[in-house]
Amino acid sequence: MELSPYVLVMISLGVLFFTSAILALYWCTKTGQFKDFERGARSIFTAEEPEGMQTDFFPGKKEKIKK
């Protein structure tokens, strides 16, 4: 059976692709990305834009909501 050079290239690229995915998953578990989901969800808040503060309003409309 004649094998096109593509098959070799594609298989090696595919192996590389899936290896990187497995490595990424391994790295995640190792560095604890799948632990403490509570902390993960809160990691976007900083002292400047803290949890519990709405950070976007229509211009000039903030006062109305404050009431």
Partner: protein, 489 residues
């Protein structure tokens, strides 16, 4: 003693808050030039793409409306529209929004801005040359890759530079926890150069033989949406919805599940574009299975976004960002369900080769992706320029024109396309009749497109006005100042 202790704590907290405050402002300031550069180029392309879209749409039902010039013919203008929107508007805005989120989530200043800007300049120059090439008739015959082959190495190279930038800045992060948006961004930065270079090699430069070309073509075409625009849109929604509400995402566990299932299933789905085509049946079947499996990440993301907003729906009306992002997130759910349904053989036998496919493409790329990106711009720009959006009215006009426009667009073409499909399957109806029957629906598309164009014009005016307006210290969207609290239920 108790009062002294609490007093100390208060002072310490204030010092801490000032520190972080400076930092976040610094982070935003470090991104100012590149982010504004990419947003501006994205909006220029949006304008160009909209113009091409209207020309293409009107040409379909009023063929003598435009002068009989070669470069104005439907084939060229339609491809110019697709490329201007996908690679001009889509990619430029992704570079801006993804970079901004990445740097903010890494809690570090922007590094190597010259890498981004050089890549951005080359990207845009290559696009101008490529789209001029399409209009001059040098387009390839491959959908999604119409730009002449001489520009693709420059596009691939500048893209790779941006991906390298993303990974390098990730390595410099100062935040130990990787937020789910960063997952999506990193993955997209890794996936897109991969699929783009693979398809350019296998279809344009060293063409594979036979149907392998079409399989590769649609593997790319669908993955460009699914592994590039979708992850960035979802990432922006995952960042902005909790951020604007000041409320963490409903379930972080679900977001991790959503990411990995998307990574697992989306890549297979592209073959559903070739249902009924002369390719191995097992390949089509695996594509259909993957398309249906996409229901899992979509439901997971939908539950997560919805339950974060639930109980806070009145806030959606008070925040320009949320209004656009929530509209986009809802469209993502709906468009994906319809997409999974359209991948089934029984449905596809009607919807394939009709305008319903066009409606579905715009449902995903506009009602979901573009709306989320509009929302992101509304959030980012005040923080870049340190000033407020000048007019609440223009934001409302922008929202209602594009929201009504895209809804009309999707409804009209889905219904029209479905009727077209049923008629094409009926051998009693002459083909020319099926074509004639689409004309009212095509007119509805031109009307919808004009509404969206008006919305874009409102947005462009507003954007320019913002640059010329005065700086406003501490307006509604800017950083909290001492003693200022916002009531959240």
């Amino acid at each position: 003693m108790i009062s002294t202790t609490s007093g100390t704590i208060v002072i310490e907290n204030e010092v801490e808050s000032v520190k972080t405050k400076l930092k976040l402002a610094e982070i935003d300031a470090s991104m100012r030039f590149p982010v504004i550069f990419f947003i501006t180029s994205a909006l220029v392309w949006l304008g160009i793409g909209t113009t091409f879209a209207l020309i293409a749409s009107i040409s379909l039902h009023a063929s003598h409306f435009f002068p009989n010039w070669e470069w104005l013919t439907f084939g060229r203008v339609r491809s110019a529209h697709l490329n201007a929107m996908a690679f001009g508007w889509g990619n430029n805005i992704v570079f801006a929004v993804a970079m901004w989120m990445m740097v903010r989530l890494c809690q570090t200043k922007l590094r190597f801005p010259w890498l981004m800007i050089t890549a951005g300049i080359f990207w845009n120059i290559a696009l101008i040359v490529g789209i001029a090439g399409i209009l001059l008739g040098q387009l390839t015959s491959v959908e999604w890759l119409e730009m002449p082959r001489y520009v693709s190495p420059i596009l691939g190279l500048s893209y790779t530079m941006i991906a390298i930038w993303g990974i390098v800045s990730f390595l410099y992060r100062e935040n130990s926890h990787v937020y789910v948006s960063q997952w999506y961004i990193l993955a997209a930065l890794f996936w897109f150069p991969w699929i783009y270079i693979a398809v350019q090699t296998m279809v344009i430069w060293f063409p594979a033989r036979g149907t392998v070309q079409s399989i590769t073509n649609w593997w790319f075409g669908h993955n460009a949406l699914g592994l590039w625009y979708t992850p960035i849109g979802v990432a922006a929604a995952y960042y902005l919805i909790p951020k604007v509400l000041g409320r963490p995402i409903y379930s972080y566990y679900l977001s991790a599940l959503g990411f990995w299932t998307l990574a697992l299933f989306y890549n297979w789905a592209g073959v559903h574009h070739l249902i009924g085509g002369p390719i191995p049946v097992w390949l089509i079947s695996s594509g259909i299975v993957a398309s249906v499996m996409m229901v899992i990440p979509v439901v997971v993301t939908a539950i997560n976004h919805h339950l974060t907003v639930v109980g806070f729906f009145d806030h959606v009306w008070h925040s320009p960002t949320l209004r656009f992002v929530v509209f986009g997130a809802m469209s993502y759910t709906l468009a994906s369900f319809l997409g999974s349904a359209m991948a089934l053989r029984e449905v596809n036998v009607v919807s394939h080769f009709t305008h319903a496919t066009v409606a579905h493409a715009h449902h995903g790329i506009y009602a979901f992706f573009t709306m989320v990106m509009f929302g992101s711009i509304y959030y980012i720009m005040p923080r870049m320029l340190k000033r407020e959006w000048p007019s609440a009215l223009l934001i409302s006009l922008h929202f209602w024109f594009v929201a009504v426009g895209i809804t009309l667009y999707v409804l009209g073409l889905t219904i029209g396309g479905w009727i077209q499909g049923l008629e094409m399957n009926n051998s009693q109806i002459a083909f020319i009749e099926t074509v004639k029957h689409t004309i009212p629906w095509l007119i509805s598309r031109s009307v919808a497109g004009s509404l969206m164009a008006i919305g874009h014009i409102c947005f462009f005016i507003h954007f320019l006005w913002m640059f010329m307006s005065k700086k406003t210290a501490g307006g509604p969207t800017l950083f909290k100042r001492a003693g200022e609290e916002v009531a959240v239920k």
